[in-house]
């Protein structure tokens, strides 16, 4: 088994990812790639060797603190960012799917859907977990449902679309927000 597939390595990298929530996404991805590469190059084969490599790299918290310091983050942010109420792993998963969920809910219940969508977007823009680009992707994909729904309704009222076109619009209305939520969830793991 390659060291990179070792459960201890996955846990270690997850931990570093969690502690570096305050870093710009690109910097965080680079650090994780560097650590991953270091572990791969070390070619540790068994549990003991993997443990030794990880011990040499240092505590995830220490590595994260050094990365945040290089980024010019104030020393207090090192502890403040990862423990914020909107920075937890659980919260992250919920925030990632909430806008898309709201968008989809609109299909069934416009009021509840719009409410969930609004809350989801507000949380998405408040959390430090994603950079502005991912926040825009999440927003755009979640808003696709009401926009497509409106267009579909207009076209239908105008008598310009048949059942096939309507089906296509329906597939997009579900597919787009779902892929948006996937992109956000993925970006978390880098």
């Amino acid at each position: 088994m390659n060291a990179i597939d070792h459960p201890l390595v996955a846990a270690y990298l997850d931990s570093v990812a969690r502690e570096t929530a305050g870093l710009p996404a690109e910097r965080r991805a680079e650090l994780l790639a560097d650590l991953r590469e270091h572990i791969e190059v070390s070619e540790a084969r068994d549990d003991e060797a993997v443990r030794a490599v990880l011990a040499e790299l240092g505590e995830p918290r220490t590595v994260a603190a050094s990365a945040l310091a290089e980024e010019g983050a104030p020393a207090t942010a090192v502890t403040a960012v990862p423990t914020g109420p909107l920075a937890g792993r659980q919260a992250a998963r919920i925030i990632a799917v909430l806008p898309a969920l709201g968008g989809l809910l609109i299909l069934g219940s416009p009021f509840a859907g719009a409410l969930v969508l609004a809350i989801g977007l507000a949380l998405l823009w408040k959390t430090p977990l994603w950079d502005a680009r991912h926040k825009r992707i999440g927003t755009a994909t979640a808003l696709a449902v009401p926009v497509l729904l409106l267009l579909g309704g207009l076209f239908l009222a105008g008598g310009w679309v048949g059942p096939v076109e309507l089906l296509v619009i329906g597939v997009f209305a579900i597919g787009v927000p779902v892929s948006g939520a996937l992109v956000l969830t993925r970006a978390l793991r880098v």
């Binding site: 570093v16 680079e30 190059v41 040499e56 240092g58 220490t62 590595v63 050094s66 990365a67 290089e70």
Partner: protein, 124 residues
Amino acid sequence: MVPGDAKNDDGGGRVPSQLRKGVLEHCVLALLRDEPKYGVELLAELASVSVMTTSQGTIYPLLSRLRREGFVDTELRESPSGPPRRYYALTPLGRTALAEFAGAWPRFRDAVDHFLNDPQGDTA
């Protein structure tokens, strides 16, 4: 790397950690003076002098900054065994920074020694 004296010789104290801040990056540049090196190699050489690093992983953010500032360049090279390795090489800018540090360091070291050994300029 010697398990026995890891406790008191790992450079983890407050003073060593503060001293490292200003000089570590120049030690990294100095290690690259003669030839490009890959991450694991570079870290092993730093770690062989125990006062220089406690956690090897903390060097990667430093290398990342040195690259962004144009002091080092990176290049992915195939390895005879195992996965490709990212090599770090000194740029002309990095070489200049290293020369500057090498010029300033002896004066700095002598000044510190002076205050530590003979603060008043006469016998106490």
